[in-house]
């Protein structure tokens, strides 16, 4: 049954037009991944307006291919330039850049792309198997369950996100407040507009993504003073084949990275911790562990496998529950709504062509992707040779075009600038941006779920706890929210309890 659906999906994904779309998406995505200041999320946001006139399946194939490309592109800059384009590429630089400096750039890149592919493929297979089941279960969910899942999404940013949990909380709340501004569709009242007509239509998250991640990132990178000291690529077919010969030796690292990636990935913000965790595990279990950080190929395989497995796994909650696992998935979710599709478990029944076409395109997109990046690495690396004074204003112009195109309105271009400054300040002060964007996307859905739940229960919050599924999810969510409060208390208690003191920093 599931297999039949997948075959049907391939029939949709493997048309010449959709393959062409996937190729364009991967090429653009890799360029976006390589360029500083442009990443997966805002690349997808900028191109979203171009898909308004496309059939939804082709549109999602373009955007997901762009995402795969951006994931691959991040590895190129990490290894050759020591610049992690995305936070989950940071661990790739540890061994990738030393390898490139030692003239093994070709090996490092081949290993990175291949492991990305393996990690992604693993997650896609699991999505193929589990997505229909999860959607089936989710069909029984009512508003309280959906609200509980949304709360869980945000609680994991606070409890597991690292950094200052209060600042994560502020980011989430600010995102929800921005989402609430404008016309309240339920009561028809204007909220937080203070009589200003312009504020009536609220804040669009696409513009927020372009501003926060695009302009904000540019401002940060010019402040840090960009200087590219490229290592040589050293990429050719012989190197690729020779590297492929030794890679199977590291099958344990691949398997471990894939599992860590998938497990961390379908929870929000999971790709970055997944890549670090996988790197740490590989270092610990490898017989050459003490050589890590000096240019070990295993140190490239481990984080790349996990990051991509996680990046793909982030799509699972998006297609089954309508809840995105990453900012990029959030932008795609916004795309679904714009194309006239209702995200959530009903997608599998109402739009099987779309869902299975999307899943099949994940296979084709990643296969195409790994071939394209292996073949064109020197071309992509050359992009960073474009002088900085040409690159920077071009990216600003592209961001402005993307912001205007969302609603054909000038006010969005102004918002883009304001969000840009905000992104710069927030990033410097360690306010995480991903939960803000997710809250902005999910704001209306979460509020409606909350309202409907409360109407069902005549205003009692108890409804979230008496229903078994939502009660269980709620409990976990509350535990995550309390984690930052409980952990220090627990440590102190254990510390005074006379237990053997642990070494600092361990």
């Amino acid at each position: 049954m599931g297999f039949e659906n997948l075959l049907h999906g391939f029939a949709i994904a493997v048309t010449p037009f959709n393959l062409f779309i996937a190729l364009v998406g991967i090429l653009l995505g890799t360029i976006i991944g390589v360029l500083p200041g442009l990443g997966g999320a805002n690349g997808v946001a900028i191109l979203l307006p171009l898909t308004f006139t496309m059939p939804p399946t082709s549109a999602i194939i373009l955007l997901t291919s762009l995402y795969w490309g951006a994931l691959f592109g991040g590895a190129i800059t990490s290894i050759l330039f020591n610049i992690p384009g995305e936070p989950w590429s940071v661990a790739t630089t540890f061994d990738g850049y030393p390898m490139a400096r030692q003239g093994q750039g070709g090996q490092a890149l081949t290993a990175a792309f291949t492991s990305s592919f393996v990690g992604a493929f693993f997650s896609i297979v699991l999505i193929t198997l589990f997505a229909p089941l999860l959607a089936e279960v989710a069909l029984k969910f009512g508003p309280p369950e959906f609200f509980a899942i949304q709360l869980l999404t945000f609680s994991s940013f606070v409890g597991l996100g690292g950094g200052n949990p209060l600042k994560s909380l502020i980011s989430i709340l600010l995102g929800f407040i921005l989402a609430a501004a404008g016309l309240d569709i339920v009561t028809g009242q204007l909220r937080m507009t203070f009589g200003i007509t312009e504020l009536m239509k609220g804040f669009d998250f696409i513009v927020a993504v372009i501003g926060l991640f695009g302009i904000g990132e540019i401002l940060l990178s010019v402040e840090e003073g960009l200087s590219f000291r490229a290592a040589r690529t050293g990429m050719n077919l012989a190197v690729v084949l020779q590297t492929w010969k030794i890679l199977p030796r590291y099958w344990r690292t691949f398997v471990r990275g894939s599992f860590i990636g998938f497990w961390m990935g379908f929870k929000p913000g999971g790709a970055t911790p997944a890549s670090f965790m996988s790197y740490a595990f590989a270092k610990r279990f490898s017989p050459r562990g003490e050589h890590f950080g000096k240019g070990e190929i295993e140190g490239v395989i481990a984080p790349e496998t996990a990051a991509h497995a996680a990046g793909v796994a982030a799509m699972l909650p998006m297609i089954t529950l309508g809840i995105p696992g990453s900012p990029t998935a959030a932008v795609m979710l916004g795309g679904l709504i714009i194309w006239g599709l209702q995200p959530g478990p009903m997608l599998f029944q109402e739009q099987p062509d779309f869902v299975w076409g999307l899943i099949a395109s994940m296979y084709t997109g990643n296969i195409l992707g790994v071939l394209v990046v292996l073949a064109f690495v020197p071309v992509f690396a050359a992009i960073l040779k474009i002088p900085f004074a040409i690159l920077t204003p071009s990216i600003v112009v592209v961001c402005a075009v993307g912001s205007y195109a969302v609603h054909n309105s000038m006010i969005d271009v102004w918002y883009m600038l304001i969000f840009g400054v905000m992104g710069y300040v927030f990033k410097k002060l360690d306010y995480p941006l991903a939960p803000l964007v997710l809250a902005l996307v999910l704001g209306d859905l979460a509020e409606n779920a909350l309202r409907q739940s409360l109407i069902m229960s005549q205003g009692s919050l108890g409804i979230f706890f008496v229903r078994p599924i939502s009660g269980a999810i709620m409990t976990v969510a509350i535990a995550f929210f309390l984690l930052p409060v409980v952990t220090p208390w627990w440590r102190r208690r254990r510390g005074t309890g006379g237990v053997a003191p642990t070494a600092p920093g361990h």
Partner: protein, 153 residues
């Protein structure tokens, strides 16, 4: 860094208080069809004010070690931001294509000190490519000004 942290948290508190004031106007209780308009944003804002207040206390207790940004590092940031703002202002009157051409040319000359042939080629090339891709291929209109009108678009 501490000053910036304080200012940001205080701004967030002000935003929160403004939101609370507006939600009180809308009603935060139980209306005819369930929770009133102000219910959800009210509790969001209360949470934000509380969390920001703790961030303020945390920042006050911490010694300031490094500045948020030094003057030397702020310069390139403003060199991007100020012309970009100018571009958006020009966009209101002359449209996106003319504004971006001027902005690209200005930045390439002023910051990059590129030669005039490069500047003219890219300053015209990038807006023209944008025009072809967005207006012609994907039929997404951009703001246009007198120049485009004169050219007949």
């Amino acid at each position: 860094m501490r000053a910036a942290d304080l200012i940001t948290a205080l701004v967030l508190i002000v935003v929160g208080v403004v939101v609370i004031a507006d939600t009180l106007r809308l009603g935060i209780g139980w209306g005819l069809e369930g929770p009133q308009s102000g219910f959800f944003p009210f509790w969001l804002a209360v949470g934000m004010v509380a969390a920001s207040a703790i961030v303020v206390l945390q920042a006050l207790r911490r010694a300031s070690t490094e500045p948020f940004v030094t003057a030397a590092r702020l310069r390139p940031v403003l060199a991007v931001l100020v012309p970009a703002t100018a571009m958006v202002i020009v966009m209101e009157g002359l449209g996106l294509y003319v504004a971006s051409a001027l902005y690209l040319a200005f930045y390439m000359r002023w910051v990059g000190r590129h030669t005039w042939p490069t500047i003219v080629a890219l300053g015209l090339g990038i807006p023209i490519v944008t025009f072809v891709v967005f207006e012609q291929w994907f039929l997404v209109p951009m703001p246009k000004g007198p120049l485009e009108a004169w050219l007949g678009f």
